[in-house]
């Protein structure tokens, strides 16, 4: 029997294969996705109850609560993303296949970003109902801000999730490592979301979007460089 001709995939194709695998796993375990959505919805609901019926205050704080809900949910999704890799040492299998570790990083970031962005799309109409925000003011920019913010959480989240995946107290370790790194990016995301939802007389939105983009580029670059050292054993 003649051996089939091999044409090993490059970085982009490998990234796509890792992403597609993560989507397949998410689709086959939809219960986890449902849990993620309900967790985020519950967070939004609790914040709205805590604030009381003052509609002005609710509108003002809506961007912060929206990002807190996404942030809290991200710890669940990021942890789960690497739990499937540590089960049966599947990550080792990927590295030995061999898959370029940077392709694993990019695929995982894309997978986590798509999940969080999808979640944020679900949360938007709920924010309208609970916080009376106006999405029509600058909807395109709002989507861009959400996407950039989700990348900003997923890029360092993927690195830290990989680091903590084999730790005994990984569920505690991930937020401890991740949240301090995310604070500056979250401040930019909350501000950008605020100016996309309310009046922006001083045209500040574009500056915040640029800052968010800069954070994303920094997180992606650092993760891209560091990830091989995280997944390769000494």
């Amino acid at each position: 029997m003649t051996a089939p001709i091999r044409t090993p995939p490059g970085l982009l194709r490998s990234t796509w294969l890792v992403l597609r695998k993560d989507w397949l796993i998410e689709w086959r375990t939809r219960a986890r996705l449902t849990a993620l959505i309900f967790f985020a919805l519950s967070t939004l609901l609790l914040f709205s109850f805590a604030m009381g019926p003052d509609i002005t205050m609710l509108r003002v704080h809506a961007p912060g609560y929206l990002w807190l809900a996404i942030l809290f949910a991200s710890t669940l999704s990021l942890g789960e993303s690497f739990r499937v890799e540590s089960e049966n040492q599947a990550m080792v299998g990927l590295v030995l296949a061999p898959v370029e570790p940077r392709a694993i990083f990019l695929g995982k970031v894309a997978g986590n970003t798509s999940l969080l962005f999808g979640l944020s799309l679900v949360l938007l109409p709920v924010s309208v109902a609970l916080y009376d925000v106006d999405l029509s003011r600058n909807f395109g920019m709002l989507l861009l801000v959400l996407l950039l913010g989700c990348i900003g959480i997923s890029a360092p989240g993927t690195v830290y999730s990989a680091i903590s995946s084999n730790a005994r107290a990984r569920d505690v370790m991930l937020p401890l490592l991740l949240f301090p790194v995310l604070v500056p990016m979250l401040l930019a995301a909350v501000s950008a979301t605020k100016f996309a939802l309310v009046a922006d007389p001083q045209q500040q939105l574009s500056s915040w979007v640029k800052l968010l983009t800069a954070f994303d580029l920094i997180y992606l670059s650092v993760g891209f460089l560091l990830f091989p050292r995280v997944v390769e054993e000494d």
Binding site: P4, P9, L24, I25, N88, L94, L96, A97
Partner: protein
């Protein structure tokens, strides 16, 4: 046939914390030959296989596979070596077909033709669309060997390949090992079933507390 030996261990040591799992192990396996790796539990067999596979790297010394040093040429070594380990490297939430399909694509093989043939070959032809989570330990082992066979390695590292298999599965596994050898693959076999291992290999390396000793 390559001029290089299949495997060259040069004073290989591996330390975990304060404990030396391997201490100055040297050995050369000629190309095309197969090696039986023996020793008690904790003697360093699994550690050595992981080092050869590039899942981990020596604390001191070098491992050279067909002329490529594992640390500096890890990408090339990884294309030539495949490991059947205690861990299956499988995604439990995916089906057997999806697991093999992804690996086939990563290896640059056409999954439409290679995966069904491989599932048939390991006796999982009718179970390809079931999630791996539903598989028994023996079925997982078969799927894990399918991953290894798909890779068509020049060096196959088998860590206790007969564990969790029924007699028919053991006989099938022996068949796979002989097929690999017939295709020119050097097999490194770590097993406690020494008599069985001796019938499948030409060379032997015995480890005791991480050191090479005469069997």
């Amino acid at each position: 046939m390559s001029d290089h030996p299949a495997l060259d261990l040069r004073d290989v040591s591996k330390r975990f914390g304060a404990r030396w799992a391997l201490a100055r192990v040297s050995y050369t396996l000629p190309a095309g030959r197969s090696l039986l790796l023996t020793g008690h539990n904790g003697s360093g067999k699994t550690t050595l296989l992981r080092l050869i596979s590039t899942a981990s790297f020596p604390t001191a010394g070098d491992i050279v596979v067909y002329g490529d040093e594992t640390r500096s040429a890890r990408d090339r070594v990884r294309t030539q070596v495949a490991l059947l380990s205690h861990a299956s490297f499988l995604y439990d939430d995916l089906t057997a077909r999806q697991n093999l399909g992804m690996l086939a694509e990563l290896l640059g093989l056409p999954p439409a033709t290679t995966v069904p043939a491989m599932l048939e070959r390991v006796g999982l032809g009718g179970r390809g669309d079931e999630a791996v989570r539903q598989f028994s330990a023996g079925m997982r082992k078969r799927l894990a060997i399918a991953r290894l066979l798909l890779k068509q390695p020049k060096v196959a590292l088998l860590d206790e390949p007969f564990g969790e298999l029924d007699p028919a599965g053991i006989s099938q596994m022996e068949g796979f090992i002989r097929e690999l050898q017939a295709a020119g693959t050097s097999v490194v076999l770590a097993t406690h079933l020494i008599e069985q291992g001796l019938t499948l290999t030409q060379e032997r390396l015995h480890l005791n507390q991480g050191r090479r000793v005469d069997p």
